[in-house]
């Protein structure tokens, strides 16, 4: 599919203008609903909001630099339920990856979803965002144009070099563009092209080369990622550091709740391995004179790693959720990369790419 590229004039209000463009999709009946970050009554924290009327789109912040929860789970719910209608979902690249992974796990269907994603400058942690927002109400727009603001993004985002969406129907281009004048929009699929047709976009007047800006960012974040993985890798391998970092775990399971990919109805860790048998704990205590309770937290984290490390899309929500500020995402991403490299698997890259543990069908020989 040839990608089409067009401009959307932003008039210093990229979020608002883009919301209106999305509203046109509702208006023209091309989609029955739009799910995008937005503000609802009572909170300034952008959450996934389901819009069904274009006038309501005023509260939409499609390029919001924060995300209260991963929208992937919500998009997946829509995809699973909605049939014979189309719903546009605005997702960050990591959330797109999440949806695609969930589709592979039969937890959603991509059929009815029109996925709109953006070149992602990253999201801020919720508390940091809210603090900043009170001083600067235009933060969502300003953030897009200010690299020093972007440097305040979460540590996960600062070390993420997968900021270009894959698998979306529409991509919103930001990097290397004068975003306060216009942003770029491309249709990546037939559906995407059909939809941007309705957005009344302009042919690009001047040619912008995004490559340099992208490369710079990729280099910067890539370096940060390598450093992070290096550091975290040491933590995982070194029992002292490991215990120092994970010793703070409360066993609250927030990380699991936050994870867009933990799709089980009721986590196995809540039933079988976590909270080990008391005899077990006392046996251990007899040996060394003491044993921490609750026990089995390593087993919990490792079980999650066994189950999810190949699929980790690096959204960082687990870290954001952790009350003990354990860098869960760093640990998961580091391990995830090692496992994914070994299995030659890239989660969320392609809905057709089989889950690595199901590849036995095509493999043979020794």
């Amino acid at each position: 599919m040839d990608k089409s590229f067009a401009f959307l004039k932003t008039n210093n209000q990229p979020n608002r203008i883009l919301s209106r463009a999305l509203g046109k999709l509702l208006d023209k009946g091309l989609v029955s609903a739009v799910m995008a970050p937005g503000i609802t009554n009572g909170s300034d924290l952008p959450m996934p909001v389901l819009f069904t009327r274009d006038e309501a789109m005023e509260s939409c912040i499609p390029l919001a630099p924060a995300a209260g929860v991963s929208a992937a789970v919500q998009a997946a719910r829509i995809g699973r339920k909605v049939k014979d209608k189309r719903v546009a979902v605005v997702l960050k690249p990591c959330e797109v990856r999440g949806v695609i992974e969930l589709a592979k796990l039969n937890q959603t269907s991509l059929e009815s979803l029109a996925i709109i994603s953006m070149e992602c400058p990253g999201r801020m942690e919720n508390d940091a965002y809210l603090a900043k927002l009170s001083a600067s109400p235009d933060l969502p727009d300003l953030y897009l144009n200010d690299s020093s603001l972007q440097d305040q993004a979460s540590s996960t985002c600062l070390s993420c070099d997968a900021f270009e969406p894959q698998g979306a129907d529409i991509t919103i281009h930001l990097f290397g563009l004068p975003v306060m004048e216009h942003i770029g929009i491309s249709g990546m699929t037939a559906i995407g092209n059909e939809l941007i047709e309705a957005m009344d976009l302009e042919k690009p007047g001047a040619a912008y080369d995004q490559r340099e800006a992208m490369a710079r960012l990729r280099e910067k974040r890539g370096r940060a990622k390598e450093e992070l993985f290096q550091k975290t890798g040491e933590i995982l391998k070194n029992p002292d550091q490991y215990l120092e970092v994970l010793g703070n775990c409360l066993g609250c399971f927030n990380c699991r709740t936050a994870c867009p990919l933990c799709y089980c109805r009721e986590c196995v860790c809540a039933r079988e391995s976590f909270d080990r048998d008391l005899d077990d704990v006392s046996n251990r205590a007899k040996k060394t004179g003491q044993a921490r309770m609750p026990a089995g937290l390593s087993m919990f984290h490792m079980t999650r790693m066994v189950h999810m490390s190949h699929a980790c899309v690096g959204c960082g929500q687990c870290s954001s959720y952790c009350p003990s500020k354990i860098p869960v995402a760093d640990l998961f991403r580091t391990m995830g990369q090692q496992v994914q490299n070994t299995l030659d698997y890239s989660p969320g890259r392609d809905p057709e790419e089989p889950i690595p543990y199901l590849r036995f069908k095509t493999e043979a020989g020794s």
Binding site: G233, A291, L297, T342, P356, Y357, A364
Partner: protein, 158 residues
């Protein structure tokens, strides 16, 4: 689940004999159809293999949940040896291929956790390969002996 309990029981057994030589704690998960037969053949032909291994017979290597291997290490195993049918020989068609994929991913994970990859081995040992069984088990145990205790049990303290 029968197999699960078996496994857990076995790995619960703590190391007791620490003589001059290091006696590693080794769990061998073998498939009922091929490798167990090979082990049996090794026994029948009186091929000696190390006594350190605790052999657990499974219907198929494809039923091995990697979680249990992690648990074995957390609970003090120094090595886990898995023996299954050659590709294509699996009684359950392709259970061994499934095992290979999962063990492959798990190996990377354990390596990331600081467990030497040699501590987890997957070998194809056919029913008639008694000598192969002996050789692989011997080599594996020797390898673990050289590596020394895994020390991974400390991760289980939280």
């Amino acid at each position: 689940m029968e197999q699960t309990t078996q496994q857990t029981d076995l790995v619960k057994t703590e190391q007791t004999d620490f003589d001059k030589e290091f006696h590693p704690n080794i769990v061998a998960l073998v498939c009922n159809w091929c490798t167990y037969t090979a082990a049996d053949l090794a026994g029948v032909t009186r091929l000696k293999y190390p006594a350190e291994i605790r052999m657990i017979r499974l219907m198929c290597t494809g039923m091995i949940d990697p979680r249990f291997i992690v648990e074995s290490f957390l609970r003090g195993a120094d090595g886990v040896f898995i023996g299954g049918c050659h590709p294509g020989d699996c009684h359950y068609i392709n259970g061994n291929l499934k095992a290979r994929l999962r063990i492959g991913g798990l190996k990377a994970l354990l390596q990331g956790m600081g467990i030497e990859p040699q501590r987890l081995a997957l070998h194809w040992i056919g029913a008639s390969e008694g000598t192969e069984f002996q050789k692989q088990v011997k080599d594996f145990v020797e390898g673990i002996r050289e590596l020394g205790p895994s020390g991974f049990g400390v991760y289980d303290s939280i």
